[in-house]
């Protein structure tokens, strides 16, 4: 399906598009500039674009197509040249009163994939994003509920008050914190807390 093209042919034929100086200069260009014979057969050398006509520089000289309001004229036409479209283009060489609105629309869609208003139209993607965000927040709240109710309330034997009193008694007996801690507040002579 694809013909393997050697890379030096591609490089040679793409130089047409990297010459920026010919367009958009203050001085009028030489009158013979217009005639640049293509030294390639379109469909042979550009397996990517097929039968499409290359019409301009585009954004960077590559024969690619994309719709963008700040670069309204892409480098290739959108649709491949078919006999119907060719016939319409021939008709467009005459007076444009003969072109009906439908034919003008067909010609437009043959050159361009979408109109600029379609390109900048809102896509509604924000609804997907906000919905996902709220969904994740909801899942987080469910997770929090699960953790606080099922995982966190752990019944340890050592949490009860009686156990803590036994631990305190043992700490005083061992003399834990005799200088600044718990046992410093215990009066060992009388066996009560210090006043």
């Amino acid at each position: 399906m694809f013909k393997v093209v050697s890379s030096n042919i591609c490089k040679k034929s793409l130089t047409r598009f990297s010459i920026v100086a010919q367009a958009h200069t203050a001085a009028p260009a030489a009158p013979g500039h217009h005639a640049v014979e293509p030294q390639f057969k379109q469909a042979e050398v550009y397996p990517r674009i097929g039968n499409r006509e290359i019409v301009g520089f585009g954004r960077n000289g590559e024969p690619s197509y994309f719709d963008s309001p700040d670069c309204p004229c892409p480098a290739v036409r959108w649709k491949e040249d078919t006999p119907e479209i060719k016939a319409l283009r021939e008709k467009a060489k005459g007076d444009w009163t003969n072109l009906t609105v439908e034919e003008k629309k067909i010609l437009y869609r043959a050159d361009f994939r979408s109109t600029i208003s379609e390109t900048v139209a809102p896509t509604g993607e924000w609804k997907f994003i906000v919905g996902s965000l709220l969904g994740i927040m909801g899942a987080t709240i469910w997770g929090y509920y699960f953790f606080t109710k099922a995982i966190y309330p752990v019944k340890l034997e050592t949490s009860s008050n009686e156990h803590q009193a036994r631990m305190l008694e043992r700490m005083i007996a061992q003399g834990v914190g005799r200088v600044h801690g718990v046992s410093s507040k215990w009066d060992y002579e009388t066996g009560t807390w210090k006043k």
């Binding site: 958009h24 309204p72 050159d111 208003s117």
Partner: protein, 148 residues
Amino acid sequence: MLSTFRAPLMRALSLRAVTARSYSAAKESDDDFDSRWESYFKRPTLDGWELRKGINDMQGFDNFPEPRIVVACLEACRRLNEPSLATRYLEALRWKAGKDAKVIYPWLIQEIRPTLDKLKIATPEDLGYEKPEFGLKSVFEMKGPNDY
């Protein structure tokens, strides 16, 4: 006596004028800019490649084209038999007007109405393209070349 002062005075003044000249590129006046672009589109040997490059470049400038430049561009479209490019250009100008599109765009259409009627160019409103017609997928969501 005045004449003995005048010559060195004149020399001093001219010297000051010379040293006051800036070394950056000369600023082009608005009229020169407009005329340059208008003559670019009026050139009879313009081809489609240059016309499109001109439109794309103008779209990037920080100014709105004068009606006479728009007229010259539309006439170039007519010479090169491209009705859809003329419509595309008007759509692009509408976008370029940005927030002030409701004010600038009708004014522009009114200014170029004689040309539109003479060349029978369809504005986007004539084709129904000021509102989106198709809801095409963005290219990042398409799963194949024919998945619209």
